[in-house]
Amino acid sequence: MEYKNVLTTCIYCGTGCGIYLEVLDGKLVGSLPVKGHPISEGKLCIKGWNAHSFVYHPDRLKTPLIRDRKGGELREASWDEALGLIASRLNEIKAESGPDAIGVFTSAKCTNEENYLLQKLARAVIGTHNVDHCARL
């Protein structure tokens, strides 16, 4: 039997609480607060306490899904196909209605670097300042 904890940062919002992920025989089994952590000081919210729970969840998305027509069913797709579709549709929308018809939603779950890249994509590639994030609740 192997049981250990791995120090990480909660992925649910931008606060940056410390979390220990409990690993039992190679499987993630729980989350614990980090006592003495400079930000979270040994405390977590309900999301932090459950930060491990989506990892093996049967509803977790593991591939992109594409809906071919309005009202149609979602089908699994490859990343190449999905990203190709997104790029071509963004180009079409920009050509038809201008770049401000497009908005970009970033995420508190992303790293600073990923958020930087996304706003760069919005401003420098698409040409819009419509950038917002999921933590504006």
């Binding site: 039997m1 192997e2 049981y3 250990k4 904890n5 791995v6 120090l7 410390g18 220990y20 409990e22 039992l24 025989d25 089994v29 729980g30 614990l32 607060p33 980090v34 006592k35 003495g36 952590h37 400079p38 040994g42 405390k43 977590l44 919210c45 309900i46 932090g48 306490w49």
Partner: protein, 262 residues
């Protein structure tokens, strides 16, 4: 000799004995310690004493994961008492646990405002007497109205993280009544006063040994231990029951309900 060195020697000796598959203790990791299962051959250089975590909760999970495993555990006074209450309720089989009993220092006692900072037998450390909880003493000076107002104000800050419930080794129910909409409505903050906290208090009375984990985990800094210490005192006065004192004391809720034919 220093306490940490003695503890590492005791853990090494238990691992060398071959009687256990591993020893549950605390390991330095980042800014704090974490529960960790040390196994034969592992270095014990990063085994530490503090800050403590709810080891009985982890042990319960590990024993459940493998019905054949037998483990050692570095066990403080509160943790011994916690294991005893878990054993009474068929959550932990004490024959599958080999404790290394650790006495808390005066500093650790003070941090936990602990009345009983030592186990029934001490393998490592020296016994220090318990301390009265100053917060409990302050609370006792309040009138009934002041107490109600006090808890109303405290519980109004609750963000329903369920951390007090989740961290508690004695909260082992697979279905928790606090997740039932009937008692605690989903999506509403703060939880209804006083039902959330009184349900939890009733469910842990005669089990709570005062390990402080709930209070330390509370993001709203609600002094939960004050409530549980007072309940523990009531249980002792009414039923002469002290949680964790002996594995042979039947819990009053079981005995009383049997007498009353419930």
């Amino acid at each position: 000799m220093d306490r940490l060195k003695l503890l590492r020697e005791a853990v090494q000796s238990l691992l060398d004995s071959g009687r256990v598959e591993g020893v549950l203790a605390l390991r330095a990791e980042g800014p704090a310690s974490t529960p960790h299962l040390f196994r034969p051959g592992d270095s014990l250089d990063d085994l530490v004493l503090w800050p403590k975590y709810a080891l009985p909760r982890t042990l319960d999970m590990l024993l459940d994961a493998d019905p054949d495993v037998r483990l050692g555990m570095v066990t403080r006074g509160c943790e011994e008492r916690g294991l005893i209450e878990l054993a009474k309720r068929n959550q932990v089989d004490l024959d599958r646990v080999e404790p290394i009993y650790l006495a808390c220092t005066a500093e650790e006692r003070d941090e936990c405002r602990c009345a009983w900072p030592y186990p029934s037998r001490i393998d490592v450390g020296e016994k220090v007497e318990g301390t009265a909880d100053a917060l409990v003493e302050e609370h006792e000076k309040l009138s009934l109205e002041e107490r109600t107002r006090f808890w109303q104000e405290q519980f109004a800050r609750c963000i329903k993280c369920y951390g007090c419930r989740t961290v508690c080794p004695q909260c082992f129910c697979e279905v928790c009544v606090l997740e039932e909409d009937k008692w605690v409505e989903t999506g509403i903050l703060a939880p209804p006063f006083p039902s959330y906290h009184l349900i939890r208090a009733y469910h842990t009375v005669s089990k709570c040994v005062g390990c402080m984990e709930c209070e330390q985990a509370c993001p709203a800094d609600i002094p939960l231990t004050v409530l549980y210490t007072l309940l523990r005192r009531d249980a002792e006065e009414m039923f002469e029951y002290v949680p964790g004192r002996s594995v042979d004391d039947p819990p009053p809720l079981v005995v009383e309900t049997m007498w009353q034919g419930v």
